[in-house]
C-alpha cells in the first residue's frame, strides 16, 4: 500500500519536472517579463508532493512496514520511534529522497524569491534545476527505489547499525544535505547566467543568500558529524581525515571562497567568471563526494553498502555536469582585467580564495590519490593525518594573519592604515603565548606560531569590533565569524598541546596513579535496555591537586539486532576540559582495559564553530531585512 503510494508520487513528480521544463522552455520565447502562473503552481505542487512522498516513507518506518525492502533492511520493530524516523535517511535510498526534496524546495523558493531578476535567467535556472531533479528521480525510480516491495512480507527487520543510533547522527545527514544539495541552486543559476549573459552585479544578489544558507548548514553538518565521531567512535579525536569527512570539507572550501569573492563581485563587479567557476565546482564537488561515498570505491567509517551500478549512474551524471559546465564556460569565457591595487580589499579577498583553493586541492589530492595509485599501479596506499597535518597547519599561520588584516583594508585604494596597531597586537599575542609557555607547558615551534597567529586574529577582530561600535559602522556578522574562527584554531591548538592520554588494565577495586590523578574502578553493573544489554563500569577520577572528584561510567554494549558489541565512551564535560574514558573487556580475566584522556577546552571547539555559523545566519537575517 505505502509502496504504491510512494511509487506513484515519484512518477508524478518526474512527470511534473518534465512539464515544468516544457512550460518554462515555451515561456522563454514569450518576450514579456512575466513568468506564467502555471509554472509557479506546478513547482508548488511538485514540492508538496515530494514532501508527502518523504512522509510516506517516514510512516513506513514508524509502522515498521517490512514489505518495503528499505524498511526491512534498516529498521526493526523494537527500535525507539526516534531512531525509526532517523532510519528514513540513515540509508542510501531514503537519503536520496532527501536530496530530491531539497533540490525541489530550493528550486521553488528560488523561483518565488527572485522576482527582480530577468525572466530568462530565472526560467533557465528553473529548467536546469529541474533537469537535476529529473536525473535524481530517475536514479531513485530505476536504481535506488526506497519503495521497492518485498513479498512475502518478513515478520521482522534487520535492524539499524547500533553505531548509527545516536541523536547527533540522526540530524547530521539532513544538515549536511541542505549544504551539499543547496549548492545545486547556484550551480543552476551560474549555468543560466552564462547562457543568457547575465553578468551584472545584480546576479550576485540572486545567489548570495543561497550560498550563505548552504554554507551555514554545511558547517553545522560537519560540526555535528565531528561531535558524533568524538562521542561515538571512542578514540577521543574529532577529526580523522577520513575520506568521507573530507568529502564534506571539499565543497565547504569552495563555498567559503565563493562567499568571499561574491563580496567583491557585488561591490566592484569584478571576478564574474571566478564566481561562476566557484558556483560550478561547489556543486560538482558535492556530487563527487556523493559518488565517492556511495559507489564504495573509498573505504571509510561510513559503511553504505556498495553497489557498482549506483556508482556508474552517479558517475555518468557527474561527467555530464562537468563537461557541460566546462563547455559552456569555455564558450562564454572573456578575459577579465582585474587591475587590482596591491593593498586593496579586493586583493586580500583574492588571497583568501587562493588559500581556500590550496586547502581544497590538498584535501582533494589526499582523498583521491589512493584511488589513482590503486587503479593505475595496483599499489594500495593510504593517505592519513600526517599528510594533512604537515601540509595544512603551517599554512594556517599565514592564512590567519591575512584574515586578521584583510577586513580592515580599504576598497580600491592602495592604502594600508594602522600598521602600528597591528605590530602592537602582534607583540601582545607573542607575550600571551609566552605566558602560556612559561606558566603551563612548552610546545613545538609550529604550535607556537599557530597559537600566536590565532591570538593575533582574535585580538585584531575584537579591536575591529570595538572601534566599529564607536563609529557605529558595524559588520557584526563578519566580526563574529572571524573572531570565532580565531578561537577555533586557538582551542584546537591548545587542546592538541595539553591533552593527556593514559592506557591501563585495571580490575574492580584497583587504583592507578599518574601525574596528579588517580583512577579507581569501583564497580561493574550489568543492565538490560530495550534493544541492548550493557556492562557499565563506575570509575572515580581524582585530581589530587585540586581535590576534584569525578565519576565516569563507560559502557560495553551488546546489541541484539544485528548482534554487535560497541564501546561507549563516558565523557564528563566542563568549561575547562573533558574527561574521556573508554573501557573494553579482556577475555577470561577480571581485568578491563581502560583508556583515559583529558582533553582541555573541548566544548569551546564546538562553541567556536557554532559561533562561526551564527555569524553566517546573522548576515542572512541582515540581508533578508535589507532586501
Amino acid at each position: 500500500m505505502l509502496s504504491n503510494i510512494g511509487n506513484s508520487i515519484l512518477f508524478i513528480s518526474a512527470f511534473l519536472s518534465i512539464s515544468i521544463i516544457y512550460l518554462a522552455n515555451k515561456n522563454l520565447k514569450v518576450s514579456n517579463n512575466l513568468i506564467i502562473k502555471n509554472i509557479y503552481q506546478l513547482s508548488l505542487i511538485q514540492s508538496t508532493l515530494i514532501i508527502v512522498c518523504f512522509f510516506t516513507l517516514i510512516a513506513a518506518f514508524i509502522v515498521s512496514d517490512f514489505s518495503l525492502v528499505t524498511v526491512y533492511q534498516n529498521s526493526h520493530s523494537m527500535k525507539p520511534v526516534f531512531y525509526k524516523i532517523a532510519g528514513t535517511w540513515g540509508n542510501h535510498e531514503g537519503s536520496l529522497l532527501l536530496w530530491v526534496i531539497i533540490l525541489t524546495i530550493f528550486s521553488f523558493l528560488f523561483l518565488i524569491y527572485n522576482k527582480d531578476h530577468p525572466k530568462k535567467f530565472r526560467l533557465l535556472t528553473l529548467i536546469i534545476q529541474n533537469i537535476l531533479i529529473l536525473g535524481f528521480l530517475f536514479f531513485i525510480l530505476f536504481n535506488s527505489n526506497p519503495f521497492s516491495s518485498l513479498s512475502p512480507t518478513p515478520s521482522e527487520g534487520l535492524g539499524l547499525n547500533p553505531i548509527l543510533q545516536d541523536p547527533a547522527l540522526a540530524i547530521h545527514p539532513p544538515l549536511l544535505y541542505v549544504g551539499f544539495v543547496g549548492s545545486s541552486i547556484y550551480f543552476s543559476a551560474a549555468i543560466a547566467s552564462l547562457i543568457v549573459n547575465y553578468s551584472e552585479k545584480s546576479f550576485s544578489s540572486s545567489i548570495k543568500n543561497w550560498v550563505l544558507i548552504s554554507w551555514c548548514f554545511q558547517t553545522l553538518g560537519i560540526l555535528v558529524g565531528s561531535i558524533w565521531a568524538y562521542y561515538e567512535l571512542g578514540w577521543g579525536g574529532f577529526w580523522f581525515w577520513d575520506p568521507v569527512e573530507n568529502a564534506s570539507l571539499l565543497p565547504w572550501f569552495a563555498m567559503t571562497a565563493l562567499l568571499h569573492s561574491l563580496i567583491v563581485f557585488e561591490k566592484r563587479n569584478l571576478f564574474y567568471f571566478w564566481v561562476i567557476i566557484l558556483c560550478l565546482i561547489t556543486f560538482i564537488l558535492s556530487v563527487t563526494g556523493t559518488f565517492l561515498v556511495r559507489s564504495g570505491i573509498l573505504n571509510s567509517v561510513h559503511t553504505f553498502a556498495s553497489d557498482p551500478t549506483r556508482g556508474v549512474y552517479i558517475l555518468l551524471f557527474l561527467s555530464l555536469m562537468i563537461f557541460s559546465s566546462i563547455y559552456l564556460l569555455f564558450k562564454k569565457y572573456k578575459k577579465e582585467n582585474y587591475n587590482l591595487n596591491q593593498n586593496s580589499k579586493e586583493t586580500f579577498i583574492l588571497i583568501n580564495n587562493w588559500f581556500m583553493m590550496f586547502y581544497l586541492i590538498t584535501v582533494l589530492l589526499g582523498t583521491i590519490y589512493p584511488i589513482f595509485t590503486d587503479a593505475l599501479t595496483d599499489n594500495k596506499i593510504s593517505v592519513g593525518p600526517p599528510f594533512y597535518n604537515a601540509i595544512i597547519f603551517p599554512i594556517v599561520v599565514i592564512f590567519l594573519i591575512f584574515m586578521a588584516v584583510g577586513p580592515k583594508v580599504k576598497w580600491i585604494k592602495n592604502k594600508f592604515e594602522d600598521i602600528k596597531v597591528y605590530f602592537l597586537i602582534l607583540a601582545g599575542s607573542i607575550i600571551l603565548n609566552a605566558l602560556i609557555l612559561v606558566f603551563i607547558k612548552s610546545y613545538s615551534i609550529l604550535s607556537n606560531f599557530i597559537i600566536i597567529s590565532a591570538l593575533f586574529l582574535i585580538i585584531s577582530s575584537l579591536k575591529d569590533g570595538v572601534s566599529a561600535i564607536q563609529k557605529n559602522k558595524f559588520d557584526l556578522a563578519r566580526i563574529i565569524s572571524h573572531t570565532s574562527f580565531g578561537f577555533l584554531v586557538l582551542f584546537i591548538g591548545l587542546n592538541h598541546i595539553f591533552s593527556i592520554e593514559r592506557d591501563y588494565n585495571i580490575k574492580v577495586g584497583e587504583t592507578k596513579n599518574f601525574e596528579n590523578y588517580s583512577i579507581k574502578l569501583e564497580k561493574l553493573d550489568l543492565k538490560d535496555f530495550p534493544n541492548y544489554k550493557a556492562v557499565i563500569g563506575t570509575l572515580e577520577i581524582n585530581n589530587n591537586f585540586s581535590n576534584e572528584k569525578n565519576i565516569l561510567k563507560p559502557e560495553i554494549r551488546i546489541y541484539d539486532n544485528p548482534k554487535t558489541l560497541t564501546y561507549e565512551a563516558s565523557i564528563k564535560t566542563n568549561l575547562l576540559k573533558d574527561y574521556y574514558l573508554t573501557m573494553s573487556n579482556i577475555d577470561r580475566s577480571d581485568y578491563y582495559n581502560i583508556k583515559f584522556q583529558k582533553k582541555p577546552l573541548m566544548i569551546w571547539i564546538w562553541i567556536s564553530v557554532v559561533m562561526i555559523v551564527a555569524g553566517g545566519f546573522l548576515r542572512l537575517f541582515k540581508n533578508a531585512k535589507y532586501s
Binding site: 578514540w235 559518488f291 559507489s295 564504495g296 570505491i297 573505504n299 556498495s306 557498482p308 556508482g311 556508474v312 558517475l315 557527474l318 561527467s319 562537468i322 563537461f323 566546462i326 569555455f330 583521491i368 584511488i371 589513482f372 590503486d374 587503479a375 593505475l376 594500495k380 596506499i381 593510504s382 592519513g384 592506557d503 588494565n505 558489541l565 564501546y567 573494553s584 573487556n585 579482556i586 577475555d587 577470561r588 580475566s589 581485568y591 582495559n593 583508556k595
Partner: protein
Amino acid sequence: MRNTVKIIIFVIFFFVISVFYISLTRDVNYNTSSLINKEVPQFKIAYFDKNEFYTKQDLIKNNYTLINFWASWCGPCRVEHPVLMKLSAENNLDILGVNFKDKKELARKFLKDLGNPYNSLLKDVEGKQSVIFGIYGIPESVIINNKNTIIKKFVGPLSLDDYKEIKEMIK
C-alpha cells in the same frame, strides 16, 4: 595558447573520470574474497625487536602460516587472544603477529599480560604494509600455505569456531 589550456583542462577531467570508472569496475580494496586462492603479494615488514625484515620468501619455510594483525589499543584483539594462544600449541602452524599502528611499550605490555602466541613478531607502525593484505580494521587474520597461497581471511576477532576450522585446515 587558449586552446591548449582548454584541451589540457578537458583531458584532466576526462582522465579523472576514467580513473573513477576503472576503480568502479575493480574489486573493492578490502574485499576479502578477491584475496582467496591468490598468491601472497610481495611484502617486507620489519621485525618488532630487531632491524631486519620478514618477506614473502620467509613464508615458504612454514607449512602453514597465520598472519594476525593486532594492536594493544584494539578491544576485540583482546577477545581473540585466547584463541591465538590455543592455536600456538599447533605444531603445523606458525603464527606471525603484525603489531598494527601501535606503541611499542603498550604492545609489549599487552603480550606480557596476556601471553605471546606468536612465533615471529613484526610491526607495521604506519599501517602501510598491512594494506597489501587488505587490512582495514583490526583484528584480521590471513592463513597461508607453504605454496604462498592465501587460503582464508578472517575479519574480526577469531572465535572458537574459527579455531576448529583452522585446526581442520592444517591437518
